[in-house]
């Protein structure tokens, strides 16, 4: 019944590594439910996807993925504290207005949060800006006038925000396409994936 889409995004594999078998997960901005299907198969993870786009909601139902149509800008009101092992947001954080609010909410509802986003500081993006144009790339595929993204930030920016909000970076993996980048990722990685926790204080 479960049919995985052909092009599994490379960040799925990293996310799956961080999910223990049988975990309860919540996937924010879950699209057609492909990550949840992947995690169900790879990790027997159970949970729900959140989507605001009704076409995506219908696609999830078609894929037999539990999905709730909720606007993330409203936060996660109604969800209980610590209800999930992991709250995941794969390549959607840059499209949410209420960045700080949603990060706080993810760590309220989840024991840990997993966040991936396109790194605006990627060297090709810097070159593009230097040449006088907003970057368009695999990780930022839209033009400036039609992008759904509303927040543009680098890995360094994100880590600064985490520090300010008392969010602990438990693990970080960065990629240029499907190549893992360990040296100067803020410059050489196009996509970053973080495993975040609450500060102990």
């Amino acid at each position: 019944m479960v049919r995985l889409t052909d092009n599994i995004r490379f960040d799925f594999d990293v996310i799956a590594r961080w999910i223990a078998p049988g975990e309860r997960v919540l996937d924010l901005g879950c699209g057609d439910g492909d990550l949840l299907m992947y995690l169900a198969e790879a990790r027997e993870a159970k949970g729900y996807g959140i989507e605001h786009n009704i076409d995506h909601v219908v696609a999830c139902i078609k894929n037999n993925v539990n999905v709730l149509k909720i606007d993330l800008e409203q936060g996660l009101a109604g969800f209980e504290d610590g209800q999930f092992d992991h709250v995941i947001m794969s390549l959607s954080l840059q499209a949410v207005q209420n960045t700080e609010g949603i990060l706080t909410e993810m760590l309220r509802v989840g024991r840990e949060a997993v966040v991936s986003f396109p790194n605006f500081g990627y060297w090709r993006h810097r070159v593009s800006i230097n040449e006088g144009h907003m970057p368009v790339s695999d990780s930022l595929p839209h033009q400036w006038y039609n992008t759904p993204n509303v927040r543009f930030f680098t890995m360094a920016d994100f880590e600064q925000l985490c520090e300010k909000r008392g969010i602990v970076v438990n693990e970080r993996v960065a990629f240029d396409d499907d190549r893992e980048i360990t040296i100067d990722p803020n410059n050489y990685a196009s996509v970053a994936i973080y495993r975040l926790g609450r500060s102990r204080s």
């Binding site: 019944m1 309860r24 159970k46 729900y48 009704i54 076409d55 909601v57 219908v58 999830c60 139902i61 078609k62 037999n64 993925v65 539990n66 999905v67 709730l68 149509k69 909720i70 109604g78 969800f79 209980e80 209800q83």
Partner: protein
Amino acid sequence: MTSSGSVGVVEPRRARFDQPLALRSGGLLPQYELVYETYGTLNAAHSNAVLVCHALSGSHHVAGIYADGLNNLGWWDNLVGPGKPLDTDKFFVIGVNNLGGCYGSTGSMSLNPASGKPWGADFPFVTVEDWVDAQAQLASQLGIEQFAAVLGGSLGGMQALAWTLRHPARVRHGMIIAAAPKLSAQNIAFNEVARQAILSDPDFHGGHYYEHGVVPVRGLRLARMIGHITYLSDDQMAEKFGRRLRHQGPQYHYGVEFEIESYLRHQGDKFATYFDANTYLLATKALDYFDPAFEYDGDLAAAFATARAKFFVASFTTDWRFSPERSRELVFALMHNRCEVSYAELDCAAGHDSFLLDDPHYHAALAAYFDNIEV
């Protein structure tokens, strides 16, 4: 949606039950009959049955037409049929008129065996749970141990919800649309005004109007007019009628002037010709009493602790009678219990009535969900 067929000409059937039914009100129905219709074919494993529960003024006539009245289309015909979202090529679909109804099942118009006269106002109060228990008896008689799904909108959604709580082993999917886990004070208030309209009609005769050969037409009309105001959204009413007048300029009388007045009177008049006042009273009370969390100190999550079904919940953005907020309460209570649930909140202009219409996203979501139900 994709093109699809009709179930064609259908015929209601009647099931008789001689085992008494204990009612929540404390009453006992010694025997009763339920009128129902079926569409599609029950498979060999008896695993493809879907029960469609009707709302306040609905009936067992969910889909198709009657041979003697070609205009009498089932109330959810756009959903049920071959190739439609609730596909009768796959599922065996059942519609049943609830106890206390006025479309042939035992109700106020039936003869009270004790008096030999119509029950009238003496028909016992029936609740959503009583309806569900009677439906379960019908299922057993039809050889259906477990429904693939129980589906309903509005008051019908409450029955689907009650099924998953009262008979958790007998329903695999609960599909609850434009409903609420209980009525708000405002909902009850509207129902009470509708009831008072009927109760205060001089032709009501304490509910025994059948013996007087009259019908409390004025009360029924008013009740329906009030209902219709709550079924439509403010925006849709503005769009459909606005302040349009029937004549050029104001006439300064109490006859019909605004189009909305004409619409409400028409709906009220029509309703009073076919619906029974006692049924209306009973059904609104069933709505008011429904509150599965009541026995759990108002804790809805606790009420769902025994639920085993998988759920589909849908609401409509412009529905202010049972707003999306009420459906979300339900979804969060289900999630608390780790129930599987999908929730579609649909952008439809038509208010509460949207659940009977065929918005493309709405029907696509239903079709996708039904498609994944294994039979």
